[in-house]
């Protein structure tokens, strides 16, 4: 089966004055459709950089990222953006909803950008609002919703165009424990229903343990860790 995402020999560095700082070094990994992989690591270990490279927000220097069988190495910004729009759904810690758009408009955004008809959008929006438990809230504005509700809207937006890959960056980071659990449950269910792959960045051991695999970024490299080896002393 073609992995939803595969990185091979991915390296990334940036210049700070005269000094070169390596963030990622020879990172190879993959996530299969229907699979959830948790990515853990200390602050500054390169988790966000890896997500940026995978999503095409930053150009690839060394190595390659293959998204649903399509190499991103030789793509320019325009092509990467189009690929991202089709194949990736984002979920952020701070939700990143557009405050001046209603719940429905926020959810519809990826479909609208893809040029789909309003009728198709409406049907899918209604379906997802039900799925995330926000029926009847389509006209509300994001900043009138609770954190948990906002994250549900973000989940609906990430899934509306049925992307191959969901990138979730600390999706429970701004939520209380109970809301966090509910959101993760919902996210796992919906991703699994759609057979999408999910790469989940988290600091929460509880959330990480719920994933199929756990990868740890450390000193620029990546390694797989077993859920039972995660301890309270892990400083991430």
């Amino acid at each position: 089966m073609t992995p939803a995402i595969r990185t091979t020999g991915l390296s990334h560095a940036y210049m700070s004055g005269q000094a070169k700082t390596t963030i990622l070094h020879d990172v190879s990994m993959e996530v299969a459709p229907g699979q959830t992989v948790a990515l853990i690591g200390r602050s500054g270990s390169g988790k966000s950089t890896l997500l940026n490279l995978i999503s095409g927000l930053e150009p690839i220097g060394t190595g390659d990222v293959v998204l649903n069988g399509e190499s991103m190495k030789s793509l320019n910004d325009h092509q990467r953006t189009l690929l991202r729009g089709r194949q990736i759904g984002f979920i952020y810690q701070s939700f990143n909803l557009i405050p001046t758009l209603s719940v429905a408009d926020n959810i519809a955004l990826p479909l609208a950008l893809a040029g789909s008809k309003a009728a198709q959008q409406n049907h899918r929006i209604a379906e997802l609002l039900t799925a995330v438990g926000l029926e009847g809230r389509n006209r509300d504005y994001p900043d009138r919703l609770s954190g948990g509700e906002q994250q549900r809207v973000a989940i609906a937006r990430a899934l509306i165009h049925k992307p191959a890959l969901i990138l979730a960056d600390e999706p429970t980071g701004n939520l209380d424990a109970n809301s966090g659990r509910q959101v993760m449950q919902l996210l796992n269910d919906l991703v699994s229903q759609q057979n999408s792959a999910m790469l989940l960045v988290t600091h929460s051991m509880e959330v990480a343990r719920g994933a199929d695999h756990i990868l740890m970024l450390e000193s620029g490299g990546i390694r797989r860790v077993e859920p039972d080896t995660l301890t309270q002393s892990a400083a991430w």
Binding site: S48, S94, A118, Y141
Partner: protein
Amino acid sequence: MLLRILIKSSWQFYRHHPAQLLLSILGIVLGVGIVTAVLITNNSSQRAFALSTEALYGRTTHQLSGANGLPQSVYVQLKERFTGVPMAPIISGHVAIDENVYSLLGLDPFAEAQFNRLGSGPAATKGTDSLPSADSVPIKTLLQQDALLVSQISAEQHNLPVNDSVTLNVGGEEHNAYLAATYTSANPAATTGLMIGDIAFVQSLLKRDDKIDRIDLILNEQQVEAIRGELPETLQLTPATSRTQTMQAMTRGFHINLTAMSLLALVVGAFLIHNTMTFAVVQRRELFAIKRITGITSKTLLYSILLEAVIISTIGSLIGIAVGYALSGALVQLTTRTINDLYFVLHVQQIWFSPWLILGGLVLGIGSSVLAASVAAFDAASTSPVQTRQRSLIEERTRSTLPIMAIGGFIIMIVGIALSLLPVQSLLVGFAALMLIILGYGLLIPWMVYALSRLLKPWLDKLGVSVSLAAGGIYRNISRTGLAIAALSIAVSATFGVDVMIGSFRSTVDQWLRTTLQSDVYITSPAASSTQNARLLATDSLSLAIDTVGVKSVSSGRSIDARTSVGNIDMLVIQPHEQSSLGFDLITSDSKDPWLQWRQDQTLMVSEPLATKHAVAAGDTIEVFTETRGFLPFEIAAVFRDYGSSHGKILMDRQVFDQHWNEPGISSLGVLLDNTDDDQSVIAALSARLSSSERPLVIQSNTAIHAQSLVVFDRTFEVTRVLRWLTVGVAFVGIFSALLALHLERAREFAILRASGATRRRIMGVVMTQTALMGLMAGALALPLGWLMSEILIKVINVRSFGWSMQSMMPIGAIPETLFMATLSAILAGLYPAYRLSRSAIAAQLRDD
């Protein structure tokens, strides 16, 4: 202490947002700059006029004059009768050397001792061996053959050959004069462009025969009474200041108009300041929320924001004053030319800058900025820390305020319109009405933008996702877009309104010229300046013209400066030919045949500006100072349309004039041809018969005069056009800063769009479509206001400023031009923000706080 910390915090914010700080300052700089430039310009020309008058009058307290000058013998008789009373005969006129026009003052050096004309100290001369005289005018220098003195500043400026002869152009004739010396006065700026000569020489140059213009006197109250008691009714003794006041009153409307145009720039500038200050506040709303949470009271927060506005506006105002000073150089040139075209010869050498102007600029700049910032400051201070973070709440609150603003705006507009309809002549009330209408409409605009963009949304949605997002962005961010569109709309409406006004005016003047120029060919003597009456023609010129082959009939005219009960007025005396009456469009008259009535004794017609300004009408009488019997009442037979003079004109029949003046001369001829196709050969024939080297003439066809008049007309409005473009410039900076701030505030939204698959091109497309839509809306909403402004300008301001009434006319293409200009301005202003947004780092924008 706390305030100091808050200000330091603001400073840190602006350090990281230097562009925003610059734009805030730029708005104030431009607004204050334009107002200051106009204030300096007005001040400079008024001061130049006042100073030159003061310098020329010296210690003169009174002036004695007749209906059209006075015989030289009067001076001799007066001198004998009132021995010991300081008096001096004066003749003044204009001469030209090359292209430069100079005022020429003829005076009697022996009579000048006590007048001290050129300043408080003794004037000094250079280039002669004469010592600085104890008198103001050095006697020895002026007594040389054909000698003239010229102000040193003018000699240097125009490279005049001192101690050498020069060729003077006096009404088209060439005369030699000896430039004996230069003089300096206590205030050189007051005597720029002034030449002085002995009265006898000047009399011969200006062909005044045995006449002088006036007698200047230094009198105490008893002497005034004594002289008045003995004067015949044909002579008048007036205080020296009265003439100055009359001339200053002439240009009052012109100066007020300029000031009003500049204030419009300040109003647009205030919108700009409001925009930038609002954004600066809005961007920090979370910071303000943290400050409120940490215990800072809303009052302290309010003071800190207002103090910030004071600091920024003080910097902006000071730079604005400097910019205004620099700009005033060019404006002074434009306004001086207009004053010379329309009113009187004026030399403005010096830019007058006073501490009051600095104070005025600071008050205007700081006042308008604090006022503009206060809305945002009150909003930030009164919002609870929790609400401050809710963006949608701001929009919701704005949306709920829109109808209230609209109703308020509508009421203000109605008050403005009602004020404009009041039957008063006050120009200031007219401008107050105009400003209220602008303000009221400005408050209506955000509501109209919201309604319009919601109304159009379903149709715009069909044009694709970029257009849909762009259109939605306008009403969803109405708290930001509404003001930006209002600022641009007001500036564009001013352009449209002024365009319609100038277009209507030009079209009216064009039509009026076609009507008024009934003769085919006009003959006059050349004049040194357009505001000076032409010199007299030869006595036989009328008969010679009538006898010329191809000439059907001839009318004659004579222009004099008549003293009347309503001030000094240009009086045109005509002996009409059969078509002359067709050249006057009579607006009101009191009889069935006004032309027949006009031919009766002590009857005249007045122009519309005179009737409007002095509230006289057909059937009323005005007193005119005649040469033979002093002041006499004349009945107004009719009021005629006239755009040639804003201070009014009197039309008198030649036979009536001859009964009361001993002035047989004529200064112009209007020739009606047998065949108009042959006008060039008749002009050549007339030129051959009437012209000579001693009496050069200007013989022009009516089409040439028509064209020349329109050139002067266009030149008159150049300064208005400059101010109008400066206002558009302010609005452009306004919309630029508004769009930049708006889009920077929405940078995260655009990053979300980018992350969701929107390409850079699409982001550019969304932003540019949005700015274009905003521009188009601003243009469309500017049209009704522009039309209303033009109506007020035409029906109220012009009538009250100049006394001219005219028909409104929409110039072809004004509407599409306005829409295009507004859209283009917005697109240009949106280019940089769009580029910046499309290039911004998505990951950084999306980073969690």
